[in-house]
Amino acid sequence: MTGRNVASTALKAREFPILVALAAVVVTTGLVNPTFASSEGISAILIESSVIGLLAASQSMLIIMRQIDLSVGSTTGLVAFLVGQNAAANIGVPFAVSVGVGLAVGLVVGVVNGFLIAYLGLPSLVVTIAMLYVVRGVFSHLAGGETITAEQVPAPLVELGSGSIFGVPYLFVCALIGAISVTLLLRYSRWGRDLYAIGSNPEAALRVGIPVARRTFVAFALSGIFTGVAGLLLLGRFSFADATSGLGIELYVIAACVIGGVAIAGGVGTAVGALIGAVLLQTITFALGALGVSQFWQQAVAGALLVLAITFDRVVAVRSARRVVRRVEVLA
């Protein structure tokens, strides 16, 4: 078995149809409205996908192990705000400190989530809905009516939010690096493989001696750090933060994962797939506009497409499972 085969089998799995769908949307819309497929148009889509994409990439890690984190929206906003506030309050603070603040805030929320879920055995859906409220409330209290505006944002973040390299926005480069590193971590480390095993069959995972609680805890903590990075990206992206930053994005993050082929039942999917899902979600939104679909229809169509994507994924999964069974029967 060659490495090339390994790679191609890995890609063949679930990300491929999403990429095809993405290409189809871009090409058809681009034919109708050429600016859509122009480099500016694509760059705009990539920028808009970055924060959700990075969050989806780290969320995929949790969904793969049958967990979920709905608190990411609140945490992302909180990080963005606190980093800005910190930089504004201590003018000339080194950029590394800003980054440190962001990652630390994300990590704290992740550790709290992880502890409650992994070591107290509480269901992640409930814990993270609760944390969604708690973090948002604390955030809102800290922020009050204060806004973080462009001049308060650390310069490197502003640069991050506006610059690009070879036409690819820095923001998306960050999301891509994040998604690729999660994908590689999950694919090439024993730690990552354990997450797939846990999500695929939690009881069997215990039986083969995988430390499920520890893996869960670390995954949430790691996801917290990624959320911190997403908060930095959010701040760089808009050069602005206030008490409503990041409000309600958690559902888009989950949607991106689902569209990107991360099975909500666990065990299947990649972070890169989740990022592609985020890009596809954003592309559809832009495409609907570029095709002249009324603003009022856009959300409805996006929702319908999301339902379709879930249905399609399931139908494909059932089909391929059936095909495998049939092949086995023929062999036997």
């Binding site: 107290l120 055995g121 809905i129 609760a130 708690v134 604390v138 229809w297 409805a300 339902v307 249905t311």
Partner: protein, 357 residues
């Protein structure tokens, strides 16, 4: 306590009911404004929509499903009520159309979940966006507020000379109905059974998918009804109404002792939980806390509601009691007698009757 015991509440539900009583007592003592008819009227009105949806949501979570699209269904029903009224000038027709819309939303969710075998979490995240989008399609940027006074007055004036809002009629009617459904009928036993073991339920001749489908339709219907109350209460139909209610409903149901893993929960707990939530919000507000504090308290209540039973069970394990279930033994609808043990170590089964009648 004896009276409560006769109601056959489990430890958690008793705790919630006790918490409700304490909240009311504490509220009455700490602020003379709290227990006024006026304020109670407001508190009840304020929780009406959440409570109406919480009734069926409790059943849905007990069978291990979930519906995140309820707030969008509510708003869609509200939009349809507004539009139908504008078109027909007949409120009865509009109400029927609204309830039908809600039920249809539920039916679509239910069919996708039961017929295609999709995860209800994923499906209803999708329909959450879809139904909300349809609200904007229907109403665009024009909220409808030309509703007949004789209907909006229902939401405005209390019943006769009492302080109770008219929505109490719906709350009492459907509260009793869903209580009966869950605790007094075969259907309710089926719900618990499906949540405790779907396969065993199928092997017991329970039409599992039909029950689940019906629950989704009920949830949709109740979201539609909540949409009616919402429309009348705010005398308008707007596409961006009830944002975020889905998480409030789910949080309240879980706070009421329904286990997210299914099979456990009571209607008493859910009703008490929603009322505690509403009362404590009002209390905090009257005490001068700002909106941020309310948000934090909502989250903490939810966290505490899952953490405490878990900690109790850990403690019991350490004290050498055998926990009947890995999860949260004190919250067992099913493990009623073990619930008794938590509060009264005396032998259970003192002849009290199951099902709170």
């Amino acid at each position: 306590m004896m009276a409560l015991q006769r109601l056959r509440l489990t430890a958690w539900d008793r705790g919630i009911v006790l918490l409700l009583i304490l909240t009311l007592l504490f509220g009455g003592m700490s602020s003379e404004l709290f227990l006024t008819g006026d304020n109670l009227n407001f508190v009840i009105s304020d929780v009406s929509e959440v409570l109406l949806i919480a009734f069926p949501m409790a059943l849905l979570i007990i069978v291990r499903d979930i519906d995140l699209s309820v707030a969008s269904s509510l708003t869609l029903a509200s939009a349809v009520i507004g539009i139908t009224y504008e078109a027909t000038l007949s409120m009865p027709i509009a109400v029927v159309a609204g309830l039908a819309t809600g039920s249809l939303c539920g039916l679509v969710n239910g069919l996708l979940v039961t017929k295609l075998g999709l995860s209800s979490l994923a499906v209803t995240i999708g329909t959450l966006a879809l139904y909300r989008g349809l609200c904007f399609v229907l109403l665009g940027d024009m909220p409808i507020s030309s509703l007949p006074m004789e209907w909006t007055d229902l939401a405005f004036y209390p019943i006769g000379s009492t302080f109770l809002p008219w929505s109490v009629v719906l709350l009492a009617l459907f509260g009793a109905l869903f209580w009966y459904l869950l605790h007094g009928t075969r259907f309710g036993r089926w719900c618990y059974a499906i949540g405790q073991g779907e396969e065993a339920a199928a092997y017991s001749g329970i039409p599992v998918d039909r029950v689940r489908l019906l629950l989704f339709v009920m949830t949709g219907f109740m979201a539609g009804l909540a949409g009616l109350v919402y429309t009348l209460r705010f005398a308008s139909a707007s596409p961006d109404g009830a944002m975020g209610y889905e998480l409030i409903v789910i949080a309240a149901v879980l706070f009421g002792g329904v286990a997210i893993a299914g099979g456990i929960g009571t209607m008493w707990g859910v009703i008490a939980a929603v009322l505690v939530w509403g009362a404590s919000r009002s209390l905090l507000q009257l005490a001068g806390f700002d909106a941020n504090a309310l948000v934090i308290v909502s989250g903490l209540l939810l966290l505490v509601s899952v953490a405490i039973p878990q900690l109790i069970s850990r403690l019991r394990e350490q004290l050498g009691h055998r926990s009947p279930r890995g999860g949260n033994p004190t919250r067992g609808e099913a493990s009623l007698p073990s619930g008794n043990e938590v509060v009264h170590p005396s032998p259970a089964g003192a002849g009290h009757d199951q099902g709170s009648n």
